[in-house]
């Protein structure tokens, strides 16, 4: 059966049978050249606020939205990304001093994940495809984050230390060494996180 093409157009949005497309996006964007204009503390707060505003776009399920909020909170408050990056041993270059730029790039990544292209704007098929990749990666990151939260909830004494503080599970295995069985059990999470660090390195983001 053909789908009904019902479209309601309001001042703020276009609602069709599948999506609600929001028209005003000023409050989700950062001001131009704002890294140099504002002090560091303000820049972090501003970007945090914008990440939070994107929450309704992440998913229609409350559980996923809560995971997103928790993840953001952890990223901004607790995470020691330098240590995490060191633990993987993947990146050889120096970390760029401007971590604010990485935050801006990450916001750009999330924005890409929640945008819908007007058909006339897409000349190349790749542009549309890339938004799709962003959305899938974000979804996978949140699923993995949910798995981690579940494990932390189960046994905080072991998993909180591992996932949030020491990041020992990310260390490369050396040939012939005996590896802690817990790390082996978490091999999938380890692979995912190492891959995510690699992606961050190539895109200059901090997901």
């Amino acid at each position: 059966m053909a789908t009904r093409r019902l479209t309601v157009i309001t001042e703020n949005a276009i609602i069709n049978s599948r999506h609600t497309l929001i028209l005003n996006h000023q409050k989700f964007l950062l001001p131009v050249n704002f890294i140099n204009e504002y002090p560091r503390k303000d820049v972090l707060k501003m970007s945090y606020r914008r990440f939070m505003r994107l929450k309704p776009f992440i998913s229609q399920r409350l559980m996923v939205r809560n995971t997103y909020t928790e993840y953001l909170r952890y990223k901004y408050k607790r995470e020691n990304y330098l240590e995490k990056r060191m633990a993987t041993g993947i990146a050889t270059g120096d970390l760029q001093s401007c971590d604010l730029k990485q935050v801006v790039n990450s916001l750009r990544f999330v924005l890409k994940a929640v945008t819908h292209h007007e058909l006339s704007t897409t000349k190349k098929p790749g542009h549309h495809h890339e938004n799709d990749i962003c959305r899938r990666i974000l979804k996978n990151i949140l699923t993995m984050e949910y798995e981690k939260q579940r494990l932390i909830h189960k046994d905080p004494a072991i998993y909180y230390q591992l996932f949030r503080k020491t990041y020992e599970y990310l260390q490369p295995f050396k040939n012939g060494d005996k590896v802690n069985p817990i790390f082996l059990k978490l091999f999938s999470i380890r692979e995912f996180d190492r891959c995510l660090v690699c992606l961050n390195e190539t895109l200059d983001t901090r997901l």
């Binding site: 309601v8 157009i9 309001t10 949005a13 609602i15 069709n16 049978s17 999506h19 609600t20 497309l21 929001i22 996006h25 000023q26 989700f28 964007l29 309704p56 776009f57 041993g89 993947i90 050889t92 750009r108 924005l111 890409k112 929640v114 945008t115 819908h116 007007e118 006339s120 704007t121 790749g126 495809h129 890339e130 938004n131 990749i133 899938r136 990666i137 979804k139 996978n140 699923t143 993995m144 798995e147 490369p172 590896v179 082996l184 059990k185 978490l186 091999f187 999938s188 999470i189 692979e191 995912f192 190492r194 891959c195 995510l196 690699c198 992606l199 390195e201 190539t202 895109l203 200059d204």
Partner: protein, 290 residues
């Protein structure tokens, strides 16, 4: 005279009153079609549809969402593959980071009388994607699988394990972790060999590349890690991704890549947009042999 004037005054006021009280004619101006319904200005809040930002050419969002080169990024491709449940570790992971398994039927000779052939069922890895039949997924690492060897039977696809409507028992299916890993490794090596033959692999590094789709394969005993990402020689934003194959063993690699790759420290340069399957196979092979 005064009476007459009074009368005319009265008449005039009466006609004025009549004009005032007379119902007005509807104005015939055309009504523009309503494109925004005033009753549903906040309909977006309760429409119940998935919310997205609409990107138009004029919006400032257009500049923010410039292409990032994700379609030719190895890690983006790995991370964006659909999530599947790892049957043994019970964790969800992207499909490309797991081994896909299927139950296969084969004929083997019976122990007592070699002429007689009987059906046997094995759980085997699938290297190239194959959609026929039920499949399950397990961790792509020998040590991790050996650690959970007791749970090996969990690796059977759910439909095979639970269904009572089939002619074979789940206990008849052989699940052997070492052979799964060995088969997977061999399959990946064959795939790499085939792909290398198919494509002309350039030896020299291209200049003035802006995207991150360049991957180097090296064999270097001095490097600690399998994967390294560092700044490129020319500087700029591009990063060099290096996959080190030292853990894979001299003999097999020498046969596939050529002896000079293993001994002479040769670098092979690949482009993700062209050799996607090959690079992912190499990445998987590295993960297996950690």
């Amino acid at each position: 005279m005064s009476l007459k004037s009074k009368r005319s005054e009265l008449l005039a006021s009466a006609s004025n009153l009549y004009v005032k009280l007379r119902p007005k004619k509807c104005s015939q101006t055309s009504i523009s079609p309503i494109d925004t319904t005033p009753l549903v200005t906040n309909f977006a809040k309760w429409s119940g549809k998935r919310k997205l930002l609409l990107l138009t050419k004029n919006s400032s969002l257009y500049n923010e969402t410039k292409p990032m080169g994700l379609d030719c990024n190895l890690f983006a491709s790995l991370l964006s593959s659909p999530m599947r449940c790892d049957k043994i570790a019970k964790l969800k992971t992207p499909q490309d980071m797991l081994i896909k398994l299927k139950v296969r039927q084969s004929k083997t000779a019976e122990v007592d009388s070699p002429q007689k052939q009987i059906d046997s069922f094995n759980l085997l890895p699938v290297v190239k994607s194959d959609k026929i039949g039920q499949s399950s997924y397990v961790t792509n690492n020998l040590r991790a699988l050996e650690n959970d060897a007791k749970k090996a039977n969990n690796a059977l696809p759910t439909s095979v394990r639970n269904s009572t409507m089939r002619s074979i028992e789940s206990s008849e299916i052989k699940v052997d972790i070492t052979s799964i890993i060995a088969n997977n490794k061999q399959g990946l090596l064959n795939l790499i060999k085939k792909e290398l033959k198919k494509h002309q692999v350039a030896e020299r590094e291209p200049l003035l590349e802006t995207t991150n789709d360049v991957v180097f394969l090296v064999f270097d005993d001095k490097l600690d890690n399998d994967i390294e990402i560092g700044p490129s020689k020319e500087g700029g934003e591009r990063k060099t991704i290096t996959l080190n194959l030292k853990n894979l063993g001299h003999s097999e690699l020498g046969r596939i890549m050529g002896a000079d790759f293993v001994e002479g420290g040769r670098r092979i340069f690949l482009r993700f947009s062209q050799h996607q399957e090959l690079i992912i196979a190499v990445y998987k092979l590295l993960a297996v042999s950690h």
